[in-house]
Structure formats: C-alpha cells, structure tokens
Amino acid sequence: MKRKHKRLTFVFIAALLIAAAGTLMLTAFEENIVFFRSPSDIAENKVEEGRRIRLGGLVEDGSVQQASDGTVTFGVTDTAHTIKVSYLGILPDLFREGQGVVTEGKLLNGVFIAEEVLAKHDENYMPPEVSEALKDAGYWQGEEGEEETVQ
C-alpha cells in the first residue's frame, strides 16, 4: 500500500512538471514562432506590420548600398516582387548579389528592418524556403539542393 502511495507521489510530481513544461512550451510557441514569408506575400499584404517574420529570396542585382552609419540596404526579390531591406550590421561572409538570402526582422512602413541576415556555409547552397518561394513565383527551375559539381 505504502509503495503504491510513493509511486503515486512521483507520478503526480512528474505529471505536474510535464504539465508545467507543456504550458510553457505552448505559450512560448504562441509568441515566438517566426513565419517564413516571400516578397510576394508582403506585396499581397499577407504580412502584419511589426510582427517578427523571416523574409527570403534573392538579393536583387545592383541593389546593395552601404550608408555611412553602417546601415546596409538591399532588395530581396522572388522575381515577381521586390522588398527593400534595411540592416545595421556586418553582412555574413557569403552574402552576395544574385544569391539566396534569408533575413529575420519586422516590416515597418513597407521597409523590412532586418535584425539578422543569414547566409549559409556553402556558397552553392540555396535555402529550401527560398527555392520554394522562387518556384511559387514561377522563376526557379533548377533542381532543389543540387550538389556541387566538379569541373
């Protein structure tokens, strides 16, 4: 009988802990999930201003501009639409015009204020979200995640 009680105590504590953790996770999910959006989504007003999102696409050719205070502006395009992105900071090493990029931040008066710019280790790597967004816009025909080819 006693043994059963002890076990019940443990089960109760464990259940309490898991319930607490579950509640924590659900609220954390609610507030902290970041959706991926393409420039077309923003152009079609699917994106709420001020909500944290990820924006991905290609860096528009000839659009990168360095301001004297260190702010960089560039266009992110899925070929159908282009969104202007502003970013204060040093761009990642593999950031280049014409390449895929993913930025995270908030939309403010039509300009995307990026807090983070992500580029990948591999120079030939296309983030899957970006290639899909490009496909949706009817541009990207290449194979997804194609491997490096050796000449």
Partner: protein, 665 residues
Amino acid sequence: MIAEAGHFALILALFVAVIQAVVPLVGASRNNVVWMDFGRPAAVAQFALMAFSFACLTYSFVVSDFSLVVVASNSHSAKPMLYKISGVWANHEGSMLLWVLILSLFGFAVAFFSENLPPSLRARVLGIQSLVAIGFYLFILFTSNPFDRLIDPPFDGNGLNPLLQDPGLAFHPPMLYLGYVGFSVTFSFAIAALLEGRVDAAWGRWVRPWTLAAWGFLTGGIALGSWWAYYELGWGGWWFWDPVENASFMPWLAGTALLHSATMVEKRDTMKGWTIFLAIVAFSLSLLGTFLVRSGVLTSVHAFATDPARGVFILVLLIVVIGGSFTLFALRGPTISNKGLFLPISREGALLLNNLVMTTAAGAVLLGTLYPLFLDAIDGGKVSVGPPFFNTVFIPLIVPMVAAMAIGPMLSWKRADLGPALRKLWLAGILTVVAAIATWALATGGPFLGVVGMMMAVWLGVGTFVELSERIRLFREPLVSSLSRLARVPRASWGMTLGHLGLAIGIAGMTGAGAWKIETIQTMVPGQTVQVGEFDFTFKGVEQGQGPNYSLTKATFVVNKDGQEVVIMYPENRQYPISSTPSTEAAIHTTFFGDLYAVVGDPVGTEGGYVTRLYWNPLVIWMWVGAIFMMAATAVSLSDRRYRIGVSHRRKVVAKPPVSQPAGA
C-alpha cells in the same frame, strides 16, 4: 590504388560486422561459449579494417588525389597540411566514415575492457554494437561512398570552405562523434540486458564508465563547437539554438539524465527500467542528430548538401533501431523489478528530479527543433523556432533544478530531511543573497535574468563546496583528520564535485555573456574612437597582406581604458581566391572578466572607412573553463578504482560456468 584498398577494407569490415552480429548473438541464446567468444576477435578485426580504410582516405587527402570525388570537391593542393587532414571529415562522406571508425573503436574498446563481464552479456553487447554498425556500413557503401572515383580528374580541387579551415573545427567533429557514438555502447548494454532479462547493480557499474566517457566527449564536442562559433563566425555569440546545435544538445541532456540514473542502479539497485529507457533514448537522439545533420531536412549552417536518398536511408535506419529497441523494451521492460525503495525527499528523489528536468528539457528541445518539420509536412506554412522559444522554455526548467542540485548531494539515500540539509547550506544561502545584491548594484538596469543567473551560479558553486566540506567534516574535526578524509574521498565523488562546480562556473559565464554583452556596429574612419562599455576602441586603419592560401585586410585597433592602453587588436578579413569566399577573423582579447572582441567588415566611402563591429563580452572564458571542469570531472571519475578492479563485480552475477573465464577475475 590506395583508395581501392580502403574501399575493399570497408567492404570487408561490413562482412566482419555481419559475422560479429550474428555469431555471438546466436551463441548467447544457445549458450555456446565458443560462438559467444567470437565477438572479441571480430571486434578487433573490424576496428583494424576500419582504421586501415580511414587511413587510406586520409592518405588520399594528404597527397591530394583529385581523382576521388570527395578530395576534388573538398580539398586543394595549396591548403595547409592540418586542413588537408581535417578536410577528411569536413565533408559528408568522410564524416560518415569517421562515425563508423569511432563505432568500431568503441566495439574494440568493449572487447578490450570486458574481461569482467559475463561471456553472454559481452557477446550480446558486441553483437548489438555490430548490428548498429551494419546499418552504417550499408549507408556509406550505398549512398555516400568516400572512395568514389572521377573519370576525368581535375588539376586542382574546389578547396575547403574557409570557415572550416580552423583548428577548432579540426577537432570539433571527432570529439562530438566520440560522444554521439559513445552512447552506442550504453545502448548496446541496455539492449543486451533486455535480451539477458537481467539488470542489476553490477550491470549499472559496467555501464556507468561508458556513459561517463560518452558524456565527457560530448561535453567537449559541444564546447568546442560553441567556441568555434564564437571566435570564427564573428557574431560574438556562442549558442544560436540552431537545429544542429540542438541535435547535439538533446543527447547531452538525455546523457546527463542517464549518468545520474545509472548511479541509482549501481548504488541502490533501483530505477532500472528507467535507466534502460534513458540509454535507448540517449542513443536514439544521437542517431536523430546524425539524421538531422546529414539529411539536410532542417535548414542549418551544417547542411552540406541535401540528397533525398540519404535522408530516406537514415530515416529507415532510425525507425528500425528506435522502433526495434522500444518494442523490445515494451516486451521485456515490465519484467525488470526494482528493489531499493525510497521516499520523495532523498538522494534518489533528487536524482529523479534531475532526470525529470533533463528529459523534459530534452523533450522541449526536440519539439522546438522538429516543430517546423511537422508544420511543413501538414502544409501549415514555413516557420522557424528560434532562441526566444528555447530561452522561454529552458530557463524556468533549469532554475529549480540548479536550486535542487546544491541540496541533492547533501541528502541521504532512501529517506532524508530537508531541514538539516538546508541548514548546512546557510553559507551558500547568505552568499547567494550577497551575490544578488552585488550583481544588482554593479549592473543596475541590466536584465533581471542576470541577477538570477549569478544567484544560481553562487548557490551551486558554494553549495558544492559545502557538500565537500561536510563530507570531510571540515571544522568539525581537527584539520589533519579532515585532510586525511579529503585524501580518501572516492574519485567518483570528486567527479560529482568537479562536474557540479563546472556547471556553476559555466552558468556564471553564460549569464555574463548573455546578460551584459555590449555590442556596437558603425562605420569608422582611421583615427576615430568608439566607446564600448569602459573601453575606447581607436581605429588606426588597415593594411593588406598575404596568408598561405588567402589574401587579407588587417585592421588595427588600439584599446584604451581610462587613458591607459590595454591592448592592440588586429581583426582580419580574409579572401580565399580558390572558393572566392571571404572569412572574417575576429580579434579577441581574453581577460578574466571578459573578452574584447573586434570585427572588421567591408570598406565604406572614399575616406578609408570600414564597417566595424565591437563587443565587450563579459565572463566568456568562464564558459570554457566550466566545460573543462566537466570534462576533467569525467576523467577523474573514470579513474575511480571501482571501475578498474573487480570489487564485488561478481557478487550478483550467476554466470554459466565459462570455460575461458579465470575464476574471480
């Protein structure tokens, strides 16, 4: 020719693995000693073949044999020797070969150190170990063969990604894999015990050193990866909750739980089913980690290249291993009976609390990591789950656990009183309050979590010392007698003390680096000064230069504090012509209280201006010291004489009369 020899050895190793899996397992179930003993020479042969195969691949990298696809894609003749060698595992194929090499190394180690094991258990452990290996041999041979040739070899290779040309990264994967794969041994022990139908204190004692070793390596691997990200990526951060970081963190959490529950099996003959369960979970999470990293299903900096065939193969392997072992656990688990009873307030209760928190934390990380996959699979949109989620979930879980961590070791087994234990911790309590006030005063206006973090670090650190002084009855007996008690503290207990101390130091470091980091980004022209916290960074300009396989732009910063020169820093921006990719080399000046960290970016304007990023990262070195403490803790604990000589090893083992087993070994 060399590569073909390596390829051949790899295939031979597969055949040896098949034999090593089948013969000892069948032998164990038929009680055939000769068949059972077959496991050991097979494990030795398998390791020898794998070592040869790996050496062949390494040789191909060293001599830059560009007729091999992996060498041509990932190496270059102008690369320094260290990176030619580390290039062997800086790509998908080579890293999988390293995985299997380490797997066979652990099989070899089990064969070597298993003199005390009952033959049937040893046979089963080696057999299971080999079953896992077979899956990976097939994976390598069919989907990612490092020995594939090119019909038309190029003159020179593509070069290794500059970010990976770094000493920290040269050792990060092998260390991490030693951890990941180390859990294969505890997994094999768990499955073998289920097959044997017997889990006892002796089993706990055999498993614990392997858990310790795997956990220590994993700790080292994670710390090295974090250190590399900190100084190489140039973002001043050290943990990003990147899916791949999570992939290594989940087995660490499960491994930490396993380490503590295995203690209960060993000392108290209880929590046996749970320990088996954790051993399976820890290795499953290691496999899942490998799957997440290698299949490229999750967007991550570590995804080399995505290949659906590989992903499907690992997924099937995952289902077979995890599904199979849990089915076995479901069938056999209920027959395991626990002997040691205990009350909630007891040493066991505290260890159980650790287990609950660690597994819940691992579950939370798993959910956060896989959630984007689930959502994408049901077409719920593409999302990312980042640091805010993990911090929100993690910190509330960890705070009560650390609070309990100082108390747990003070409690006695079976039943204990909370009151006396808390009274003994009065010093820790007072110092924690002092730390809170001091932190509040020093960093007024800083985040509240900074205060909480420092309180946790002091509570745990001082509490650990209090526990040690209680153990040696410091100040309650003459000093000489306390010191002689100190000399007799078992090494395994030292391991606990050092490990907990390491976490305390690490928490202080993480708190400092997380809560009071100062970051400034700006364009600076030569002569300009920028203030970062208490320091003044003066930009002196840049010069161009040449490295072994790159050209560089080197900036000079003179750092002053209160008009006194502290240090001159030289961050670099390197251009690797072969892959035409740049790499930023941050300049870091480490002190006891924090790191000065400078990064130079792209030129701006016509007056010699550059984008610069300057940081004051407090207490960063404490994180690495904490990790070193934890690794030292495992080393010390492993050297405990309990694990070296067979003290009461055979007490509970009713082995079938073994022919080759010397009595009382």
